[in-house]
């Protein structure tokens, strides 16, 4: 995936065992995270490979007692960001970095489109299609907050940004997903 591959040292037993265990125990989670992030299998494979090579190279910097998954998600996130920067033009921050609330309280109309209907109908639809409408940063935040169930603090550490930025990105991403759901719902009703 990336052009700059990490230099590797000759294998030693402890380092090799560390990598073997990392791939055995966290390979599935890492690959699925990469798959949801990139939206396609080829990029996900490349991203997972690069991530585990980084794990191998930087294995001494992992602090025992901390979450390995958070560590490798941070590696994946950074690699993905680097890759998107490399492929110029494909990635731009789509939302302003502010913490302004997106919607204020008021006379809220009752939701006319129950989400449960959408869930029942759309679960067969690949998640990647819905997430593909989000910017990479918004997608990462949704994955980490709603699927991996990390706290805002943990997401901020993984993504290397402030908690306010995490909050802002999540609010906007979920609002976008809702609009997407409502649009899909409307289209389906019109087709019927």
């Amino acid at each position: 995936m990336g052009e700059s591959r990490p230099r590797l040292e000759p294998a030693n037993t402890e380092q090799t065992a560390f990598l073997e265990r990392a791939m055995t125990e966290y390979g599935k989670a890492t690959y699925n995270f990469a798959l949801r992030l990139t939206g396609n299998e080829a990029d996900a494979r490349d991203l997972a490979q690069e991530a585990f090579l980084r794990v191998y190279k930087a294995w001494r910097s992992f602090q025992p007692g901390t979450s390995f998954l958070s560590w490798i998600y941070r590696i994946v996130t950074n690699l993905y960001r680097d890759e998107l920067r490399r492929r110029k033009g494909r990635y731009w921050e789509e939302i302003p970095e502010d913490n302004a609330p997106q919607e204020f309280a008021g006379q809220r109309p009752l939701a006319v489109t129950p989400i449960d209907d959408y869930v029942d109908r759309q679960l067969g639809e690949p998640l990647s299609k819905a997430l593909a409408h989000l910017s990479p940063d918004q997608r990462q935040v949704v994955l980490l907050a709603d699927i991996e169930e990390y706290s805002y603090q943990e997401i901020a550490e993984i993504m290397g940004c402030s908690i306010g930025t995490v909050r802002s990105r999540l609010h906007r991403a979920r609002a976008l997903l809702r609009r997407l759901i409502e649009r899909t719902q409307t289209q389906q009703q019109q087709q019927q």
């Binding site: 230099r7 590797l8 699925n32 809220r108 109309p109 679960l123 998640l127 949704v142 709603d146």
Partner: protein, 177 residues
């Protein structure tokens, strides 16, 4: 908070357990009686559930190719210049090299050379002392015996030098020897 509806953003934070304790309690209380906010909250919960369910449904194993490629790249890795240098610093190589450097350094340093200021005794001193002791106590056991006069030349009653030389020239002396 109880008179107004809760904002969507606040409900999202409430859903993720990210509100401060006081706000969390107020939001919880508000949702007990406000149907509109409750419905919006349920919508947010359903969205999160949908994301999780879909993610679980799509979850798959990491392709074995990923692992194979990682190991292959590690096997084929070329060590960097620094890593090659570090290889030279292994004890098996570093110890002999360090020994050579230390020994060479020692011999190259002033420690290995005789110092110009080191105390020395002139040999002439011994000759002078010897001559003096011989002169004062010639028969002393520690004194060297004075050189014996082996030559007859100059001795009282000896023939003149010219005669002795002439006699030696005849070869008679050699015949006696």
């Amino acid at each position: 908070m109880s008179d107004m509806h809760l904002s969507t953003d606040l409900l999202v934070d409430f859903l993720h357990g990210e509100l401060p304790p006081e706000d969390d309690a107020l939001a919880h209380a508000h949702l007990q009686f406000c149907a509109a906010c409750r419905q919006e909250y349920d919508l947010q919960v359903a969205l999160s559930d949908a994301l999780r369910s879909a993610a679980a449904a799509e979850e798959c194993e990491m392709p074995s190719l990923v692992k194979a490629v990682v190991w292959e790249r590690i096997r084929n890795a070329q060590p960097s210049r620094w890593q090659r240098l570090a290889g030279w610093l292994r004890p098996a190589v570093a110890v002999p090299v360090a020994a050579v450097i230390v020994i060479g350094g020692y011999f190259a340093s002033p420690l290995a050379r005789p110092s110009a200021s080191a105390p020395t005794v002139d040999a002439a001193y011994y000759f002078a002392a010897h001559a003096q002791s011989s002169a004062t106590a010639p028969l002393s056991e520690h004194a060297t015996a004075p050189a014996l006069e082996t030559s007859m030349a100059g001795a009282p009653g000896a023939p003149p030098v010219e005669e002795l030389e002439a006699y030696a020239a005849t070869g008679e002396l050699d015949a006696v020897r």
